[in-house]
Symmetry: C2
Subunit: 350 residues, 2 copies
């Protein structure tokens, strides 16, 4: 039976926690997405709600409804949210239990492992449901330490970093891969989060579930196997978090251990505070300073890309032209205008 999935967002669809599901709707998906379970939008079209583009993916009120109505039948049930700290929201539980009882494969990218939830794993065993915990980390003996072999990989390496988490790094990375390919450039992407894996990207690792000492080596290993398997001319690395996000600074690894030649920096002009940290007044620093920080870490920023959710078209255009004037760099709005301008830049560097 071909794989067909539903993603559970159960009340979270219009929050950044649902970015996993938003990515699966935009596609591609390792398990083709037939629907999203969220009672708030039951009956509506998920793509239309997300960005005005229908893709034939329906909202259902429950897994029960999806199983009853979807044709061809559903085979996989995906935890479609990424929560702070990776815990399982209570609102998803009853649907997961229903899915386990129905023998669906449960796919989960949270730190909270379904395989270690006694009740859910018991249900799964009893009903022949499989559990895939994407974030289950390998034993230390299977993890890779950094060797420096990446330094002799001849593919151009570009890190897509962000000023913050939940800011569109992965989406820009996917668009950039497609834009490079459209110009005849053999471009590949390294996934570093659960959504990249769920979208079927072949090479990568789960950055934030990896024991700290092995992050650099696993990143290098993903680059080496990507290059070995595909002979890519361009390897795009999906960044994580932001260089100065106090809840979990990240990014230096891509520049130093991934030996990035260039950086594409994703920025949300309307975002004054780090995601979820407004109450502590943790302000996002200026882009120009971040570019200097990246320079000190050893790479240069080739372009800035904008996350424009919540902005009108005229607002995002204004932010774009102000930043271009300030930074003297190409500033691009990926969802509005595509990323061909950046693909041109990349091709020119080959």
């Amino acid at each position: 039976m071909p794989a067909r999935s539903v993603a559970l967002t159960s009340g979270y669809f219009d929050t950044v926690f649902a970015k996993t599901t938003h990515g699966l709707i935009r596609g591609p998906s390792r398990f083709p997405l037939a629907g999203v379970v969220d009672p708030s939008y039951a009956g509506q079209d998920a793509g239309t709600v997300l960005d005005g583009t229908s893709r034939g993916i329906r909202f259902y009120a429950s897994v029960a409804e999806a199983l009853h109505q979807a044709d061809p039948p559903i085979t996989h049930c995906i935890v479609g949210v990424a929560t702070v700290g990776g815990m399982l929201p209570d609102s998803l539980r009853s649907d997961l239990e229903y899915a386990a009882r129905a023998g669906l494969t449960l796919v989960n990218g949270l730190h909270y492992l379904l395989g270690e939830d006694r009740y859910l794993s018991g249900l799964a065993v009893a009903h022949g449901a499989r559990i895939i915990d994407i974030r289950r980390s390998k034993p230390a003996s299977a993890l890779r330490f950094w060797s420096g072999d990446v330094l002799s990989v001849s593919a151009l390496r570009i890190a897509v970093l962000g000023m913050d988490c939940a800011i569109g790094k992965r989406t820009t990375c996917v668009l950039l891969r497609e834009a490079c390919r459209a110009q005849g450039v053999r471009a590949e992407m390294i996934y570093t989060g659960q959504t990249g894996w769920l979208q079927g990207v072949e090479h990568g690792f789960i950055f934030d579930a990896t024991p700290n000492d092995f992050v650099s080596g696993e990143l290098e290993g993903a680059i080496l196997s990507c290059y070995g398997d595909t002979g890519a001319e361009v390897i795009l690395m999906e960044g994580q978090s932001g260089l100065r996000n106090p809840a979990g600074p990240a990014g230096a690894e891509f520049i130093l251990s991934g030996d990035a030649h260039g950086v594409i920096l994703q920025h949300a002009p309307g975002r004054r505070y780090y995601e979820d940290l407004a109450v502590m007044s943790c302000a996002v620093p200026p882009v120009s300073e971040e570019i200097e920080l990246i320079r000190l870490l050893g790479a240069s920023v080739w372009a800035v890309t904008l996350f424009t959710r919540g902005m009108s078209d005229s607002e995002s255009r204004l932010a774009q032209s102000m930043l271009e004037a300030e930074l003297g760099l190409p500033v691009v709005r990926p969802l509005e205008e595509g990323v061909t301008r950046i693909a041109d830049l990349i091709r020119a560097r080959l």
Copy 2:
């Protein structure tokens, strides 16, 4: 029976891999150290070989010899090396097996877990030997995500960072805690590596074995519990690796998530390339640039401390005065002259 330990270095004593054992010889030690097992120096005094100061700790050729000769008897056998990638060197195996057969408690801080080594753990079970794997990581449900509560801890927080790994950060951190205490300042330290735990430091976590997403929260949790338990005026954070070490960049967490007020930066003037990366020509960048990087990350460097191994006294003095002139900051040689100058600085900030 009171704990008495031997540390195994088995051929590695005079390499940086033995820094764990060097720290235990300098003391203190959670399990008081009676000897070091390394055939290369059998019969000699470990402290004298390390730094010319005898501390009554003997070298033994084997665990068998230590068990036979030590009085009071040995109870614990510590893996006394920290290897790249955390694998168990073959030269330690036969002594560990002997220790397991003798019913000693095996204490191990490598990523390689003795409890998951079938042969060794089988021996341990058969002979009633306990295994303590310091780096075994907690399940995700027991790990802590960053909350920002650290921002309201009133203790002065200082990160002891290094230009590289294996450069003396922990030693400087311990000396600084003692120097502050000698001035009547309630100073505590947060350990972040296996050696700090082995030395009996109460608050901390194993930085490099923690899944990446939880490093910031575990650091914050250690600071909160340290402050809650002790009411410390000064909390010193033991740094890890170096901000630009490509094999595993680290340090931003201490500044951003530990919310450090100041940084003490440990530097090896004679070291041109990152530890173990000379063959790749990965050069250690200039200290002045690192200070600027730390400033961009949100903290200022209050003093530079020198790792002088392999330098003559006149060489290390020269490096000290050149750096002081260049940087306009106090530059201190902790092992040669103590760190009272830095403790004075810290007291002045209270």
